[in-house]
């Protein structure tokens, strides 16, 4: 029930709205549900609202796991 996409904040208008880039398309998002957003942050956008920040460290952890799994697949 929750279509949301992770995008990069590319511009701010005031401190509560701005543009989020997602794979080359930009969507206008409202940041009022998240404190202190700045350009360059990665956020999850749902129905025009940013509802969560992307934790890049956690994302990298999962990617590392995938890389290890791929290595295992290659050696099988």
């Amino acid at each position: 029930m929750c279509l949301a996409v992770p995008g990069k904040v590319v511009s701010l208008k005031g401190d509560r709205t701005g543009k989020v880039d997602y794979l080359g398309s930009t969507v206008l998002a409202n940041f009022s549900l998240l404190p202190k957003i700045k350009v360059g942050d990665w956020v999850l956008v749902h129905a025009g609202f940013a509802i969560s920040r992307l934790d890049r460290k956690e994302a990298r952890k999962t990617l590392k796991l995938f890389r290890e799994m791929e290595k295992l697949s290659l050696t099988e």
Binding site: L3, V5, K19, D21, Y22, S25, V27, H46
Partner: protein, 328 residues
């Protein structure tokens, strides 16, 4: 009392039901029953018609003028005919600005000339304000057959070729029609398919232009027409990187987005690579790809199956109702 709904004109199953249950039984004849994109007449001519009600009239990458010429030209090309003559019927809403009308006519002229077709007859009607949405256009086209679709010859091993990236027209229209506070550099892919004509002499078995309902609908319709299931590899379907973000944000499946300048081809296995090379030589065919095949190992007769990027199988059904963006 049963009433006509908007969905009956959407190009999906309800429309086909109307065609199958009302139109065909009423007008029964062997030419109509073949249901190609154009009627293949005994005299060696092909004849087709289409009506255009697009909103907005002008959109990134085209307008109702380019659509009404390219659309009918393409229907003739994929039926095996070289387009030669078009008729042009205008139904104009009272109050439409003349400047707009002139712009549309200029666009029709330009597109017709680009396609080497002549507008040889037509009609003009004006309806009272409120009874038409600015302008509706119908074009009928006549062309000379140089080849013939042969769906009965399609067999396992034959390859499915798409002539370019899919979904751009549908997305461009959706974004132009609404103001979703979203920006995307997508342009309609509206274009003529004339460059495919020589393929009729190179062994191509079947062609269909991908319009309303998108690639998935055309694949599903092909599967229903022939005796074998289809298998398509999602990884091989060309998508423009421009539409990727937008379709995920809006929750739209790009396989169902309309195109207006792309075709699905069925080629014998032995000719497929050669045919692909020929298509790719043309600027409009640079991202063409062999994306699947007719086969008899997986799935049932009548099924168009997609092998998803993750490896699982998914059935492609025709579009049943208008694509709407979703948040859930």
């Amino acid at each position: 009392m049963k009433k006509v709904s908007l969905e009956m004109g959407s190009g999906g199953r309800l429309m086909r039901k109307f065609i199958d249950e009302q139109l065909i039984p009423t007008f029964q004849n062997p030419i109509l029953n073949e249901l190609h994109d154009a009627a293949l007449l005994p005299s060696g001519l092909a004849f087709t018609t289409d009506s255009y009600t697009v909103d907005p009239i002008f959109f990134p990458g085209g307008d109702i003028g380019t659509l009404c010429v390219n659309g009918t030209v393409n229907d003739l090309v994929v039926s095996g005919a070289r387009p030669e003559y078009l008729s042009l019927a205008l139904i104009i809403e009272e109050g439409l600005e003349f400047e707009l009308l002139e712009k549309i006519l200029k666009s029709i002229k330009k597109t017709a000339s680009r396609n080497s077709v002549r507008i040889v007859t037509g009609d003009t009607k004006v309806v009272p304000q409120g009874q038409g949405d600015k302008i509706y256009i119908n074009t009928a086209g006549v062309g000379r057959l140089i080849g013939r679709p042969r769906p009965a010859k399609i067999k396992p091993g034959d390859k499915l070729i798409v002539t370019g990236s899919v979904g751009e027209h549908g997305l461009a229209i959706m974004l132009a029609r609404n103001d979703f506070t979203m920006f995307c550099r997508v342009k309609s892919d509206c274009a003529p398919l004339l460059f495919l004509l020589p393929l009729w002499e190179k062994g191509i078995l079947w062609m269909r232009d991908i319009t309303r309902g998108g690639l998935a609908t055309v694949l599903s319709e092909l599967a229903e027409k022939i005796a074998y299931p289809l298998l398509v590899d999602e990884e091989k379907i060309p998508f423009s990187s421009r539409i990727q973000g937008a379709v995920e944000i809006l929750g739209i499946d790009p396989l169902y987005l309309a195109c207006e300048g792309r075709a699905l081809l069925v080629s014998p296995e032995s000719e497929a690579e050669k045919i692909l090379k020929m298509i790719k030589r043309h600027p409009l065919g640079r991202s063409a790809a062999i994306m699947g095949e007719v086969q008899d190992k997986i799935g049932k007769k009548g099924e168009a199956l997609l092998r998803a990027t993750s490896g699982g199988l998914r059935l492609l059904e025709p579009l049943t109702s208008e694509l709407l963006p979703r948040i859930c």
